[in-house]
Every structure is written in structure tokens, then in C-alpha cells.
Symmetry: C2
Subunit: 510 residues, 2 copies
Amino acid sequence: MTEHGISIKPLFIKMNDRDNVAVIANDGGLPAGTTLQDGVELTRRIPQGHKVALKDFAEGDAVYRYGEVIGYADREILKGSWVRETMLRMPEPPTLSELQIGGKVEPLVPFEETHTFLGYPNPDGSFGTKNLLGITTSVQCVTGVLEFAVEKIRKELLPNYPNVDDVVAINHAYGCGVAIDGLGSEIPIRTIRNLANHPNFGGEMLIIGLGCEKLTLDRLNAGESESDVLFLQDRSGFSEMVSSIMEMAKQRLERLNRRKRVEAPLSNLTVGLQCGGSDALSGVTANPAVGHAADLLVRAGAAVMFSEVTEVRDGVHLLAKRVVTEEVGQALIREMQWYDAYLSRGLADRSANTTPGNKKGGLSNIVEKSLGSIVKSGSAPIVDVLAPGEKVRKTGLTFAATPAGDFVCGTLQLASGMHIEVFTTGRGTPYNLSIAPVIKVSTRTGLAEQWHDLIDIDAGKIADGKATIEGVGEEIFKAIIDVASGRRETWADHWGIRNDLVLFNPAPIT
Amino acid sequence: MTEHGISIKPLFIKMNDRDNVAVIANDGGLPAGTTLQDGVELTRRIPQGHKVALKDFAEGDAVYRYGEVIGYADREILKGSWVRETMLRMPEPPTLSELQIGGKVEPLVPFEETHTFLGYPNPDGSFGTKNLLGITTSVQCVTGVLEFAVEKIRKELLPNYPNVDDVVAINHAYGCGVAIDGLGSEIPIRTIRNLANHPNFGGEMLIIGLGCEKLTLDRLNAGESESDVLFLQDRSGFSEMVSSIMEMAKQRLERLNRRKRVEAPLSNLTVGLQCGGSDALSGVTANPAVGHAADLLVRAGAAVMFSEVTEVRDGVHLLAKRVVTEEVGQALIREMQWYDAYLSRGLADRSANTTPGNKKGGLSNIVEKSLGSIVKSGSAPIVDVLAPGEKVRKTGLTFAATPAGDFVCGTLQLASGMHIEVFTTGRGTPYNLSIAPVIKVSTRTGLAEQWHDLIDIDAGKIADGKATIEGVGEEIFKAIIDVASGRRETWADHWGIRNDLVLFNPAPIT
Ligand SMILES: [Ca+2]
Ligand SMILES: [Ca+2]
Ligand SMILES: [Ca+2]
Ligand SMILES: [Ca+2]
Ligand SMILES: [Ca+2]
């Protein structure tokens, strides 16, 4: 087939034998009249990432992708047509009380050789992938003073401590003006507590509080000693606040600067997985490649977390079969129920998840998005389920329940102890975290080329047939170890992109 | 009376003839055995800001402060005792359906002379109190890139434009990963829209978006033209994103730099009132002085806003009498009902408002806090009631409904068009906003002395008898005009304290 004189090989992707739609993989889409390898002829131009009907659908017929029902035709759809979101009725989400728990638990074969990375050893036996001075806040009121101090620390102190990567202020909108005993308030409090103890902070703690906030040290319970805390209300004015923070920072920078990376088995590494700005290729290029990398990590003994409740809710029946015990299955159901109730209190439902960008990228609805998102988790058994912000307890694959919004999810994964994150994106987002490195994987080669100085790995080459899922999975696995070891820098860290963390506070503010 | 050889005059404050408790005003409190002027002898040491019983209370007796019931004795309380929060049962909040609307509307006499300030004239006829380059974001995903660009603008461009005060990025956690049609989502959207049009941005608009976010330009509807918007997904990588933002910033800085202050009547000034970190003196020193300043502002033709729903809820019967029409009264009731429902959906109630610091400062409960907070509003009729983030529509006194948390309230008041804020604090908070100057008024001289380089005006001298409520009110009125005119700099602006804005999003996140 040629277009404007250039020969184009029609590429389309079918994930499962049962599928009766396929996704157009060619950059720029394919024009009307194109004949696909199996004889289907396109009735009109279909953009990249969008779906083509592989058969004639009558109204009510089930539409299959990933071997699962992603919707029902709400009209007649002819073979070769562009199948769009408006043509599909969404199926109901799986009923939580009827889920099959377990039954599809096939343990992965551990690698015989020991895999290691170079991490900073911490006093408690854990390891860090960065060497950061972390400054925790117990209330939003201190943010302005702290940001002033952090700028001064970066300029005046940090250059003297070349082994320290950066200083990170854990600023947030919590701590006061909130219903501190309200529904779900344990989530933001646990998140701050666990962030204060992040392994990339080298066992050094520094907490800045105001003095009259609702989030008292008793509630925060971060394990700090008295000398780790500074309350602004105890200081004699702004200049003294800043100089006190500088002094406390200096003591800690001295100690952090003496740290050195050592070889550590991968069982000391916690990897988080997330997607953001998804398109229909997410589920066929980047996410399956990340899924393969997840399997390699599990086989190498690491802990791997996947998250984003609203993006797994519609595929939860697939996850429930993979849990190792009834107890883990019940924890999975508990987290889904909690979120269902949370959304319904706010008169929202799961359909609130998909974005205009998702739809433009070819994702018809949250069901299709879910199925493509779950692929990130690979094929390992699910050994544990965490409530939002809880610390990872086991190596192997864990489902860490979080909202799907990128910064809320990333913040909660950091609280769970994440050392490094793999982030897939189709539409493109310059997402980064300051506390742990983020490896960005694009679903499309077009994005990797356009954002040449932001995307770390291009999984789009899978769609072009230039690479395999396994090949890119291995590339990601290797990049994780290199970045975790400080041998490779992500693009976002190269530029020093710092995003604010965002706490998940399900309780009302006052 | 002497203590440690120093003679101390016992100071205590009774606000209303009906009051049967008084507040100890002496710095450091008063020791046991002290006899107050009216013969009451203290049975034990009472700290500053805390209440003394002026009579013997039987169990169930009403305790009056500000002439209103702040609680009922839950035990016998002897004359001269320290009346603490644990000894009081809270009264029920006023029943909204039974409020008396109007009836206490006494218009203030306008000043004969015209009062003016020096403001930056805007193309739409409004005026600014600062000359800022404002950069709005439509989604949190762009924050990291924008903060990088803003740092570069401050360093490389701003020095060339000496008439421009600063560049302010309106970063927030909204725009995607939220239920964009959820309950109350109009609030954060309206807030961003109105912030983008803040009068201190000189009619210049600049919006940074990602490209696939849920908060589309259609929904945001900020009145921008196409050349005012940059989507990161349209740019070829990080360096180009940053250089494009710099270029758009430069064009606007050129125009902003040509602006000059001109004299404008006070009817062009909108003043916001807020308190944070309150203590029992808030209601007897700083807030009444601010109330007097509010009356002067209203008489001079300005618009004045007070806010903080949970802090007026228990005194709403006092406000309802002051509204100018039945319609304004119904709007007041509507906002109270909305917040009651919002809190109850999250299983919280108004008692969630008071903080440990409030209680340590002598405030027994939200009823007492409310009565002291409402005093800020002075005595003018209430001409209008705004839903959160709506623009001010009238000069005179408006109740702008907001939560009470300092940054959420300040952000919403800015969205309402606030040019300058007066902020009272008893416990002390280094609060500031970047978009409009904040004058900080302390309730205690001790705080003004301790935070000598943060507190702009000390209202504590009222408690010492060294100044009157009216005198400090005039001082505040004058400071508002001087700061609004650029003749006086607040301490927080002197240091350049920049706090992040915090959006009020009552809807769930996804
Ligand atoms: Ca996400
Ligand atoms: Ca990073
Ligand atoms: Ca407040
Ligand atoms: Ca300011
Ligand atoms: Ca910030």
C-alpha cells in the first residue's frame, strides 16, 4: 500500500484470538481503502491507536479486546469501520462478591544467579537509590519559610557536599484545616509518616512544624527524636527560623555526604509501576514490556508494586485469580469496595477516570483502559495488597491501592517505600518525582522522537515490529538496575524537574 | 499585685455585660490569689488568653462570652476558677430554617472626602496592587516544567523589567485525576478561571496546559485567546517547552513593565479578612480592630470580604440579622447548608475546626472561636454572599464562603478578586500569598515581639491598655492603603515568602 508515494506496511495489533477488533499501530494511522493482512478493508481513515472492526457487529454484540469484553455495540458496526467510544455500551464492573479468588497462581521461576544493584546502605538495613536530605513538614503553614530555606540550602550548603544528590522538602496541603479524625484521615497521616522515613533519606530525619497544627507529633508518630523537630512558633522570627533550619540541615548533610554505594541483592529494591496519559497503544507496547520487566524483577527477587484502583477495577476478576491466598484476595476486595464507596459518596463513578486525551488516543472507556493497564503487572502471583500508603511487606508482586492520578499515585508509592518508578505514557507527560528516579517509557515512537529529551525508553518500536515485548522488557529491566545504581541518569533527573507531591486526603477540609 | 518583685496590673477582658467569664489578658497569665478589679480572686494560675469564672456555676448553667452562650457547665465551677474546654458542653449550632433574616441592618455613614490608593490600571477598568506576571496551569502535570521555567524567568528575564514585581505560577493539584463532573467540581474550576484573571496580572494571560487533561479550555473558559495558551504536548521536548514559556513570558513582561500606578478611589479596592492560628485574644484585640478597619473601609467605599464558613457557622444567627435583603439571607443559608452537607458526607462536623493550638490559646470550642472570628466583620450591613471562588460583585461588606484553612481560604479570596488581605494571628503563622500582599496583625504583643520580622501590626497593645480598638483599627486602615499603594512593604513580601495556593476540590479524585 502506498500513500503520497511512500510505501506503508499496514500494522495492526490483536492481543488475543478471541478479539474481534484490532488496534491500528501505524504512526499517523491508515487511510480508507487499506487492506489489512487478514483481508479486512478500512472503510475510512483510522488514526493510530484506534480500533478497527474485524467483523460485522449487530447491535448488542460483544466487542472483545485482550480476550475480554470491552463493551457492547450500540448500533450496527460494519467490518473495516472505525470503532469509537460512542458506539460502545460499557459492561458492568465485576461484582466483588462473586470474584473467583486464586486458581491462576503460577509462581515464576527464580533466576539462579544473584542480581544486584549499587545502593546506599541505611542504618536499618534498607538501601537507597539516591542520597537525599529529606525535610518533612507537619503542616502546610510552614511551606513558604521552608521553600525559602531550601533554596538557600541548595545555593549555600549543597555545593559543599558533593555526595548528596539534592534536598527535598515534603510540602503538602495537609496538617491543619482538615478533619483530622474524619473518614480516611489515616491515609494522609500514614503517607507523611512513611515519606519521612523514605530509604532515600539515609535514616536522617528532619521535621518542620508550626506548633499549633492538628497533625501533632503524637499523631504523626514518625519515630523522630526531639532533636529532629523544629517548630516555627518556638523561633524568634523569620531570620532565626531560616538559620535554624540551615543549621539542622548542615548537620545532616555532613553525615549524608559520607555515604557510599555498595552492592546489594535486588531483594532490597522496590520498583513501582504507573501509567499516565495513556493511549490505546499503552496496552500493546509499553505496558506489556513493563509487564515482562516486572516478571524479570520478581524472578530476580525484587519487590514490584502496581497501583491505580480505578484502572484495575474493571479487570479485577483477572487479578483476583492471581492472588496467593484467600486473605490477599479479601484485601483486594476490601480496597475495591473502599474506593467504590469513596467515589459514590462524591456522586462519581469509575467512568470519571478516562480523560479526553485517553479517548483521543483511542481508548474507548475505562474497561479498555483497565485491561491495558493491568498488563503492566506481568504474570507473577500477587503476594500482597496494600491500603494506600502502607509500606511494602514482601518481595514479589504487590498491588498497592492508590488513585490513578499520577502525583497522588506516585506520592503513595513513595510512601510504600518505592526506590524507583517505571512510568509509561502514550500522550506524553513530563512527570517526575524528586525522591526516587522515574524511568519514562513511551508507547509510541512518535512521542519518543518528539520528546527526545524526556522519554528514556521507546516501547513504540514494538508496534513497528522493530522490537519484541520481551526485548524491550529486558531493556527496561536493565535500565532499572542502571538507574537504581546511579550509573544512568533519567532525562527528568538530568533537567532537575521537581514536581510537588500530592497527598490523598479522602476526608473533608474544614 | 507583685510577682517575683515586679508589680503586675491584672488585666482581663469582658466583652459584654451579660458575660459571666472574662479572658485574662496579661502576658504570661496571672497567678493564683490575684484579685481582679471586681473582686474575683483566682483560685489557681490562669494562662494568658484563658477564661476565668466571674460567678459560681452550677452544672448546666450557661456560660456567656460576647453576650452569647459558648457552652453549658458540665460540672460545678467556682468563681475565680480557670474555665477550660473540658468543663463545657457545646450548644447546638443555630437551626438554619429558623434564622431571623435582617432586622439589624444599620448602614454606615459614608465618608464625605474621597479616599484613594495608588493602583496599576487594567484594560478592563479594574486596578492592581501589584504588577505580576501570572502563569496559570490547567493541570498538575505541567508543574515541574513550569517551576523550572519560572526559576529561569526570575533569574534571566525579571532583572530586565524592574517595574514588574514578580512572576507567579498558579500551580495546583487539579485538572486531571479528578471527577471533573463530580459534586462541587465547579468550585476548583471557577477558582482557576478567576485566578487566571486576577487584577494583579495586568490583563495579561498565560496558560500552560499538557494537552490531554480533563480540564479542557472549554471547561476552564477563562477568556483566553489562542496565543495565550501553550500545551506541552505540542512542543518538541523539554528544552523547547522551557524556551517557549520564556518567549511568551518575555512578551508579557515587556508590556507589564510599562505600567505605572495612578490614583484610584477606594471603590476599586477589594480587601479580604482572615484569621489563622487563633487564640482567645483574637476575639478581643486583633479581630475587633480589624472589624473597625472594615467599617472604615466600607465607609470609604471599598469592598470588604470575610470568609471561613466553619468559623461563622455557630454565630450565623448574628450575621443573618445583618443581611440587606431576603435574597442575601437565603444565599447565606444556602452556603451554610452546602457546608453542613459536605462535612456530613465525610462523617465530620464543625467541631473538626478547632486545633490543639486554639485550645492551648484558650479557645474552648468552635462556638467561642466563631464569635471571636465574626468580630472581624465589623458592623456594616452584609450586602452580598458569594459561593466559594465567585467574584466580588459589590462594594461594601460581603460574606465570601470558604473553608477556614488559611491557604484554601486565601486562594478562594484571591479568586474572588482580593487585592490585599488582612490576616490576624494569635499563635503565629508565617502565612503569605504571592498574588496579593498580606498584612499580618498579632493578637498578642508577645508574638509581635518574638516574630519581630514577620508581624506587621501589633494589636496586642489593646489588651495592655496601651491602645484602643479604634486606634489600632485606624492603623490597620492606613496600612492597607499604604501597602495597596506600594508605599509600604509587608514583612512577608520583604522576605519573599511564597506559599503554594491550595484549591478547594470537594469532589473525589480518581
Ligand atoms: Ca497514573
Ligand atoms: Ca527523580
Ligand atoms: Ca483561616
Ligand atoms: Ca505577598
Ligand atoms: Ca511548590
